[in-house]
């Protein structure tokens, strides 16, 4: 396997690492008490945890952060984000307030606490990862703050020692601000406490951005109810500082051969969470594809596969890496071996049977696990490539077509032309795709195109229900793209309205043995 699996029974001695890393707080070593749901994660975990839990908890949190990130990329409003995230958080990282009286409270909080610190380790390595982690953790904190129990939130706030300066009407007047203006500026409503704080505006950037505070010569006047803003800013500040410290302590952690493979895999998964696709599950309403129906089905293919399909049709050939990727994709949509052989034989129309048999047939069979070593046969060949896999392949050389076109088309005009050729010409979408690609958010560009191409169908399933969050979250696998596209375009035909949820769970193992 590509990733070293670690014997889950072995225990990771987190304490010894922590002692090295967080030695600045030795006096506080004691069993953690989780009084509140929210946490600033000031103290590192102290108990041992099994490697299996280590990995599992981190992956759950990773999934939540990755989905949060996709919400920002797709410009979801805070309300949309909250409702989109609620089931995902409940599934992967549940965290309830005291008033829920859940018996799982301690376990949930421990999990939240540990997974946060594990990911800190995984993402402290580079500045980019630190920034991203900090931004997403801040978003998560904010989401939880908003739906927290008001009483508990207040208690939590009191437990933080935030140094705030109170500002009364007279201070407001002194700096030329009438009470009326202060109310207007802060969005004061009847029933709100008439208490203002004043602090440097840099401490409440989001209130400044949305003009929900009053500014006067560099000072912000903030209404008491806006405390979330400065609590969140404080959260970010402390986390950033802690990440800096962790990053300096990291080299020492490399000595541990059990943790570092997990940590490095976690940080890799963060770029696009890896996904596997369960081809066995089949697709309701889809007749088993044949060599003859691939052309018709290709309208449901993601751009990467359409690109390879078009190249194949145009040139009657496809170089090795593209062939491998495309073969596996077709295998994933249910094309069986004999049809695959027929498909490739027909596609390479300019070569002789002899040449085909000699040079290409073996590869197709190998991909299906028909030939090759025992391991390959047992595993029934390769599994289809995920987006992460496609995104990390070497870029195609001259004459080659493979990989994710959002990344490989380094001239964005060529990408736009390719999209146009597949029928995607919506100016707004194209504009956003340009931005995404410029910022290297390739999978987001692809999801955007999907969402536009299936806009009305998506609205329909959202309206009518039936598709849960797992069926609607970010696509991270070309075969999921196909499956969803196919199902959406065949809504109401037979039982095609539901996708099995299990296909896209984040998975740890590398999916391909190479």
């Amino acid at each position: 396997m590509a990733t070293a699996r670690i014997d889950p029974k072995r225990r990771a001695d987190l304490i010894s690492h922590k002692k090295k890393q967080f030695a600045e707080a030795p006096a506080k070593w004691k069993q953690q008490e989780y009084k509140w749901r929210l946490s600033f994660y000031d103290l590192p975990p102290t108990e041992e945890v099994s490697l299996e839990e280590f990995e599992l908890w981190a992956l759950g949190r990773l999934k939540v952060l990755a989905e949060l990130e996709s919400c920002t990329f797709r410009n979801r409003t805070p309300e949309e984000t909250a409702s989109y995230m609620a089931p995902i958080m409940e599934k992967h990282l549940p965290l309830h307030s005291n008033s829920s009286r859940s018996s799982e409270l301690d376990e949930e909080r421990k999990r939240d606490h540990y997974s946060h610190f594990i990911l800190r380790l995984a993402f402290a390595g580079t500045k980019d990862l630190r920034q991203r982690f900090s931004r997403l953790e801040t978003m998560l904190f904010k989401l939880r703050w908003k739906d927290d129990d008001a009483v508990e939130r207040k208690e939590f706030l009191d437990s933080l020692d935030m140094q705030l300066e109170k500002a009364g009407e007279s201070e407001l007047n002194e700096c030329g601000v009438s009470l009326e203006q202060a109310k207007a500026a802060t969005g004061w409503r009847k029933g709100d406490a008439e208490a203002w704080f004043t602090l440097d505006w840099e401490r409440v950037p989001d209130l400044v951005e949305s003009r929900r505070c009053l500014l006067r010569r560099g000072k912000a006047y903030v209404l008491l109810k806006e405390q979330m803003s400065f609590v969140v800013a404080e959260f970010t500040k402390r986390l950033d500082a802690a990440l800096e410290i962790t990053s300096r302590a990291l080299p020492r952690l490399d000595e541990d051969d059990r943790l570092s493979p997990i940590l490095s895999h976690l940080s890799k998964s963060f770029t696009a969470p890896d996904a596997s696709f369960d081809a066995e599950a089949g697709i309701n309403g889809l007749q088993a594809p044949t060599a003859g129906t691939v052309d018709a089905l290709s309208s449901h293919f993601p751009l990467c596969m359409q690109n390879m399909h078009r190249t194949l049709r145009q040139d009657a050939k496809l170089k090795h890496q593209g062939r491998l990727e495309y073969t596996l994709f077709l295998k994933g949509i249910g094309l069986d071996l004999s049809n695959a052989v027929e498909f490739w034989r027909r596609s390479f129309r300019t070569i002789t049977d002899e040449k085909f048999t000699k040079e290409y047939l073996y590869n197709v069979k190998h991909a299906y696990g028909e030939v090759g070593g025992d391991a390959n046969r047992r595993g029934r060949g390769y599994t289809p490539f995920s987006c992460q896999k496609l995104l990390t392949e070497p870029l195609p050389g001259p004459g080659q077509t493979h990989g994710c076109p959002y990344r490989t088309h380094t001239d964005v005009e060529n990408l736009v032309a390719l999209l146009g050729a597949t029928g995607m010409r919506d100016p707004e979408t194209i504009k956003s795709v340009r931005e995404d690609v410029g910022k290297q958010r390739y999978h987001i560009a692809c999801n955007r195109v999907f969402e536009f191409a299936h806009k009305s169908e998506l609205e329909r399933v959202k309206r009518k229900g039936g598709w849960g969050p797992a069926e609607l979250d970010t696509i991270l696998h070309p075969n999921s793209y196909f499956k969803r596209s196919f199902l959406l375009k065949h809504l109401g035909e037979g039982n095609a309205g539901f996708v099995e949820p299990r296909g896209e769970d984040v998975k740890m193992e590398g999916s391909l043995d190479e």
């Binding site: 950037p205 400044v208 963060f270 770029t271 870029l395 195609p396 990344r407 290297q440 958010r441 999978h443």
Partner: protein
Amino acid sequence: MPHSENSQDEDLVLPDAPSLQNEPSQSQTISQSTIVEDNKENVKLEDMFDDDNEDEYSSSAPPAQIKGEDSSQPMPQSLGRFSDSDVMRAFYQRLFPFRYLFQWLNHSPNPEDTNDFRHREFAFTLQNDVYLRYQSFKTADTLRKQCMDMIPTRFEIGPVYSTNPRERKSLPKSAAFRPLTKELVFDIDMTDYDEIRTCCTGASICHRCWTFITMAIKVVDAALKDDFGFKHIMWVYSGRRGAHAWVCDKRARELDDQKRRAIAGYLELVKGGDKSSKKVNIRRPLHPHLDRSLRILKEFFPTSILADQDPWENPKKAAHLLTLLPDAQLNSALQKKWDSAPSRSSTSKWNDIDTLAESGINPNLDTKKLMQAKQDVILEYTYPRLDAEVSKKLNHLLKSPFCVHPGTGRICVPIDVRRVEEFDPLDVPTVTELLADINSWKKDDSEKKVQDWEKTRLKPYVDFFKGFVSSLLKGEKTSIKRERDGMEY
């Protein structure tokens, strides 16, 4: 890796910036892909989806000059002349105020005092449109010398980095090279006003539409000073049809991206592309910043918008005005009136709103709502339209003051905000005019040595810049002193 050949080849030519094709209409795209190219050899998985790429090239200057470039627009002189090598060399040699530029960016006259100049990124655009990033200089003189050698058509100023930008590749870890500080910058460009200005299109401007820029400067300047407390704000003419602001206070230079974004958001009001009908949506009562802005802008509205732009003179445009008004009954009465006199001026149409409202056409008319809608209309037609992306990033590059605009030949001179209404972009000297000024200058009797720039129409602008820099340096000194004093506790 299959792509590495390519980037290696280019590296051989120019290690810092592979050469670009000369395709003006795509220059931004090309520049971006070029930079990506530059990094390809070490693309890391964890960088793939990162949206805060430090190396991301983003500069307002080239696209601003290129987008909407319209060959049918009148140009004062042919485009080639201003980038003529001899003219440009003479300009850098004799006129460009490198010394004050150095002091401005170094925050001290002494090169040894800070790293703010030494570690500052400059980006050169050469005559063949090659774009050279990560240039840096020890002193004003070395910058001047490279300008005279390379004769860039213009150069841009980026952030101060943690180390010398030229040495970034020899560093053990790329993490050690990061942007630390940069002035907070703003870019106001007439392109963003194209849907509401009627007097000119594309690259051309006149006194009437320049007022949009004047209004924007007044509103933004007031907010930066009164609300954020910034003191050292320099406004600069962009050379054709816009203006830049450089906020140079230490506190501004140290802002991270999130805080820059906050300021941009605070100032941003007119939202939505051409499609959305109502572009101003704000809650009442007005935030003090908007209240102040409205007070400034209201003064301009009757003359600069209603009379000079006459934005609703034709029925189609008048229909847009109606979509912004809240009362259906009033609207149909207005429509009827304007149908009978389609060419009625915008001033009359604007006045019709109140006249008909007061005539009791709808006894249940919500006058407060109407008043607010009218305020929104004023804001939609006058409130600053910022190219916010420029302001949001610490590592954004912006064209240096005193560069020559390659299209117009005009110098990017500072604008005195206290007399912003007097500023006439069409009166800004061109590089060729300045060189002629030197030649026609007559020596007087005094012994005093006269610099070349003092012999030209550039003098008042350089003098202004000098004054700006010296007040900035004074402020800097006290803040350094305060820091030192603080340390002693």
